[in-house]
């Protein structure tokens, strides 16, 4: 009761009695100054964090990756950035490297409305001592239904090389006639591609290996 009595006269001096968000934004007192300062500062801090993280990302042929995550002693900044770009218990680079993209080589968003090819020249499949895979995900990072229940193509999926030894991967919604073995089924809408290379070769770890671009063909 004492408290109410002391607060009441102060309230009555306020120019308006409207409540809600607008009133909170416009009413000026020390509490609202501080609260708004914390909220706006917090949002700016999050944006700054994202911008810093992006400067650590490596982009090659439209693919996004990052070297040096998961390693103890890499520093607080590196650790924070890795947690943002790869939100999970990510492997150290010697164990596995990861790339992802939702854009083709021209910067257009990947979509099942178009057909794409990833062309690996002869001998240029990702070097590794364990396995590699290219996995299809929808925009929410989930598997994509398809008539042949194929969610990825990989070193184990029976890809057929061309006559010159190169390997083309057909990324599209409808089956590519004559190239079914090399078909990675896409959804009808937008999608994300994920490339994994486990026990990556030295060409990957020293940054010399370039993941081929995803090229639109239709």
């Amino acid at each position: 009761m004492m408290e109410q009595n002391t607060v009441q006269p102060h309230r009555s001096q306020e120019p308006t009695r409207s409540s809600g968000l607008l009133a909170f934004l416009w009413r000026r007192n020390i509490v609202s100054d501080v609260v708004q300062g914390i909220i706006v500062g917090g949002v700016l801090a999050f944006i700054t964090f994202q911008i810093i993280a992006q400067t650590y990302v490596t982009k090659v042929n439209g693919w996004t990756t990052m070297l040096g995550c998961g390693q103890p002693g890499a520093g607080i900044l590196m650790r924070g950035v890795c947690g943002d770009i790869f939100p999970g218990p990510i492997n150290v680079p010697q164990e596995a490297m990861y790339w992802h993209t939702n854009k083709d080589d021209a910067g257009q968003t990947l979509s099942g409305h178009h057909d794409y090819i990833m062309h690996f020249p002869a001998g240029q499949l990702p070097p590794n001592d364990a396995f590699w895979s290219l996995t299809m995900g929808d925009t929410k990072n989930r598997f994509v239904p398809n008539p042949i229940n194929r969610y990825s193509v990989s070193d184990r999926s029976g890809l057929l090389p061309n006559a010159d030894g190169a390997v083309d991967i057909y990324i599209q919604n409808a089956a590519p006639a004559g190239h079914e073995f090399n078909w990675l089924p896409a959804p009808s809408g937008n999608f994300i591609l994920r490339l994994r290379v486990y026990l990556p070769g030295s060409a990957i770890l020293d940054g010399k290996y370039k993941v081929p671009p995803v090229v639109e063909t239709r």
Binding site: Q36, G37, L44, A45, G70, R79, G88, P89, N91, S152
Partner: protein, 196 residues
């Protein structure tokens, strides 16, 4: 003072901006780690919560039919997002404050696998597996930062910087027909308290 409110708002904002940026950088990996801790210890991956100091192996059905396997309400979807169709996952959360644990791995006969040990700030401080220890069977003695004593003979020590540890195993699956073999091997990765 004419611009009192603007000055208060402005200075609080700048302080929150600078401090917040540092806090995000420092604590973000910990928030991510906590998300996984909760997924393991509270939600589980289809068979209820995974008790502390035990490992749970992703079901063969979930691996083979990721689109058609529905997890019970309240389960974590962490095993179904991230579109991994290469490795079976096995994982758990350790508490080493009550004493060391022993990780047993079977002979993987040259198959690729890894067991990753990650601290609550997302640093991978140790690995058991093809790259680091080879694919033969072995027993690993996992100790917390405060542990002192003798490592049992025949075991290698894995020294954790923290009593809280995320353990994540990945076992390569060669093909659909190989899935039962891979699963059987994954299930043989076991955690036991010291001495058992």
């Amino acid at each position: 003072m004419k611009h009192k409110h603007l000055i208060i708002f402005g200075s609080v904002m700048v302080v929150a901006w600078v401090a917040g940026t540092f806090l995000f950088i420092f604590f973000w990996p910990h928030l991510v780690s906590n998300h996984f801790k909760r997924a393991i210890l509270v939600k589980g991956f289809g068979d209820g919560p995974v008790p502390i100091n035990t490992l749970y192996t992703e079901s063969q059905k979930l691996f083979a039919e990721p689109l058609h396997t529905s997890l019970p309400h309240g389960s974590s979807n962490l095993a179904t997002v991230g579109v991994n169709h290469d490795t079976l996952l096995t994982g758990g959360w350790l508490d080493l404050s009550k004493g060391p644990l022993v990780l047993h791995v079977p002979d993987f006969f040259g198959r690729y696998y890894s067991v990753q040990f990650t601290d609550p700030f997302d640093d991978d401080f140790a690995y058991v597996g093809t790259r680091t220890t080879g694919t033969q069977a072995g027993d690993y003695f996992i100790t917390g930062p405060d542990w002192k004593g003798q490592v049992p003979s025949g075991m290698k020590q894995i020294s954790s910087p923290d009593n809280s540890v995320l353990v994540l195993g990945r076992i390569l699956v060669y093909s659909d027909s190989d899935l039962p073999t891979a699963y059987n091997l994954a299930k043989q990765i076991r955690l036991t308290p010291r001495g058992n």
